[in-house]
């Protein structure tokens, strides 16, 4: 299985992630993009600063992928996964995370992308600190 995991300080290249996983054996590509939205719980966001314990974050993401793969019955039909997470100061509309998964059929790709994202939020040592319009005043 082709795999790429990166913690990146520059703007994420979503197309790159899709191209990375694309191959002639995969009939399905699911591309998830997590984006900084304007409001969080009714509070207008100014920006979000992401930080990471990079070395451990990469290790944890690898573990998460293995956990998510164990739930897939036809694991040999998973061909490629690309996960990029942004760090640094992000503005509204910026992409914080990209998960691209290529599989033989669509079911596994949807399932993997969703499970991986859920697990990232639970254990990977990455943190966001929001600045709101209110706190800026």
């Amino acid at each position: 299985m082709k795999l790429e995991i990166k913690i990146i300080e520059k703007q994420l290249d979503v197309k790159y992630a899709g191209d990375f996983v694309k191959n002639i054996s995969s009939g399905a590509i699911v591309l998830f993009e997590g984006v900084v939205r304007e409001y969080n719980n009714g509070v207008k966001i100014k920006n979000i600063e992401y930080s990471a314990y990079e070395l451990m974050a990469i290790k944890e993401i690898k573990k998460i992928i293995n956990i998510a793969l164990k739930k897939i019955i036809n694991v040999e039909q998973v061909h490629a996964i690309c996960i990029h997470h942004r760090i640094g100061k992000l503005q509204i509309g910026d992409t914080a995370v990209v998960i691209a998964v290529a599989t033989e059929h669509r079911k596994e790709a949807f399932e993997l992308a969703s499970n991986i994202m859920d697990l990232i939020k639970k254990t990977v040592p990455i943190w966001k600190q929001e600045s709101s319009e209110e706190s800026a005043h």
Binding site: S51, M56, K59, A96, K121, P125, I126, W127
Partner: protein, 82 residues
């Protein structure tokens, strides 16, 4: 022995990363280290229950686990990636 202590996110307000040097000691448990850290940084006492610990980039669930010379110990506040 020397242990590298790392702080992340909001925990950085309490301390910068530092190297803890302990004379005449070859190993200590995570619990012992936590007690040392609370002595050095009293603000940690009330929030210790919300901090996970990692030794050499692996989460540690058991506070009896041993820490040895040159280990890297990270204090991990609740994560919020994605």
């Amino acid at each position: 022995m020397k242990i590298n202590i790392l702080f992340f996110s909001n925990l950085k307000q309490y301390s910068k990363n530092f190297t803890l040097c302990l004379e005449n000691t070859n190993e200590l448990t995570l619990l012992e280290l936590q007690n040392i850290l609370v002595q050095k940084i009293p603000e940690l006492k009330n929030i210790l229950n919300n901090i996970a610990f990692a030794i050499n980039q692996e989460y540690v669930a058991n506070s009896n686990v041993k820490i040895v010379d040159h280990d890297e110990v990270a204090l991990i506040p609740p994560v919020s990636g994605g």
